[in-house]
């Protein structure tokens, strides 16, 4: 192979890194985020409705997840669980861990957002004959999502960056790909910086979408 300058290596690596970013990192992040959001909404609604028994379970889940490192959670699920006969492929294992991890944080976000919707609206809903779930889905949750939107965007960004940890459980995502290329060319600074720039680009796009989203959501004016 002809000797290559660092610059040439970086240019050649770029489409490969980007392709893994788009094909693996982004789907991994969005899948984890979407699943995490579903978990978060359910956990937050259980606490909001104060469902006896289940509420304690939700607190336990949040306590457990927030009190342990994400990397350790990945190891437990991917390297630990097979010893008790639970084998999960690397990609689904990563989705599972990221979803439950970010889900715990987003559950707290959503719980706060639900609490911020005035209970009076719920009473008004009852008075016009709506059921609890109708009130939740048509009135309380939409407002809670709006309140939670910036924090949820932060969570999405955090998940996108967090997917790089999946490299440690053999998921061939963008960062793992950078490690592989670096194993051949030994250009740590250049290759990892290049990878960082792609993450930065992804997160910049999300931030831009967040601002657009916030503008649309603010259409119905402030809460008086």
């Amino acid at each position: 192979m002809a000797p290559q300058t660092t610059w040439q290596i970086l240019v050649a690596a770029f489409p490969r890194l980007l392709s893994y970013g788009i094909r693996v990192t982004i789907p991994l992040a969005f899948l984890s985020f979407a699943l995490g959001l579903v978990i978060a909404v359910i956990v937050a609604m259980i606490q909001y409705a104060d469902v006896k028994g289940l509420r304690q379970l939700c607190r336990f889940y949040i306590w457990l997840i927030r009190g342990t490192p994400l990397l350790v959670q990945l190891y437990v699920v991917f390297y630990g669980l097979p010893s008790v006969g639970i084998m999960i492929d690397a990609f689904p294992a990563a989705v599972f861990v990221f979803a439950f991890n970010e889900g715990a944080y987003m559950a707290e976000t959503m719980r706060g957002a639900l609490e911020s919707v005035s209970r009076g609206q719920m009473e008004a809903g009852y008075c016009v004959g709506l059921s609890y779930l109708q009130i939740m889905f048509h009135i309380v949750l939409p407002q809670a999502f709006r309140t939670a939107f910036p924090a949820l965007s932060n969570s999405l960004i955090s998940v996108v960056k967090g997917t790089s940890l999946a490299a440690t459980i053999t998921v061939m995502e963008m960062f793992r790909q950078a490690q592989v290329i670096n194993g051949v060319y030994y250009r740590s600074l250049g290759l990892y910086a290049e990878t960082a720039v792609i993450y930065l680009a992804f997160c910049t796009v999300i931030t831009w979408l967040q601002h657009k989203g916030e503008k649309r959501l603010s259409a119905y004016g402030g809460n008086r």
Binding site: S118, G120, Q121, E123, A124, G125, Y126, C127, V128, G129, L130, S131, Q134, H138, I139, P142, Q143, R146, A219, Y220, G221, G222, N223, R224
Partner: protein, 248 residues
Amino acid sequence: MMLDIRNVHKSFDGKEILKGIDLQVNKGDVVAILGPSGSGKTTFLRCLNFLETADKGVMTFDGDEIDLAEASKTQIAAVRKKTAFVFQNYNLFLNKTVLQNVTLGLTLARKFPKDQARDIAVKALERVGMADRLDAYPGQLSGGQQQRVAIARGLAQSPEIIYFDEPTSALDPELIGEVLSVMRQLAEEGMTMLVVTHEMDFARNVSSKVLFMEGGYVIESGTSKEFFEHPKEARSREFIRTILEGRQ
């Protein structure tokens, strides 16, 4: 008699707030519920619509007897269908437009078709003078406008009776008039209303009956003419005097 309420009791944290309230309401009555702060007026009204569960009490609504302490879901739904509630702080659905605020109960709870719900809503909003703001969100309206939309939301349910809990207390003074005039118009059209209020002019000139509460008891009840011109109880006289003095 349309509504007969007997012996309503309610405690919070072991403290008895309502100590046996009675009230009879005929169709077309406008009852002003008066009393000093903390006398239990809001609690009483909320018990009637099951926003609070009374500890004791019986309500006979159109001949149906309902135990306020042990009403079934169906009974509660039936009562709510015949009543509307207007809150002190409006409680409009903040993520819904004016029109949607009024149609939501019709389409979701009563399963009216969309266009029929819209017609009903527009008519209700016309009655309160808000039909020109169908697409506004509550956050874009003044307090007086929000309260009028809230009244329209209640009217759209075609209630037999509307409960008002201090509908003008959260409003700037210059906005009180527009809400009171809507209420006065409803009264003139024969709507049955229960109104907790500190607006003495309304109580005196618009309402037909007065229920004066203090310390969880009914101190005096009767026609508003009697109450204001010949109050029977010393406490009533004192209350009327303090209110009038506080206004000068």
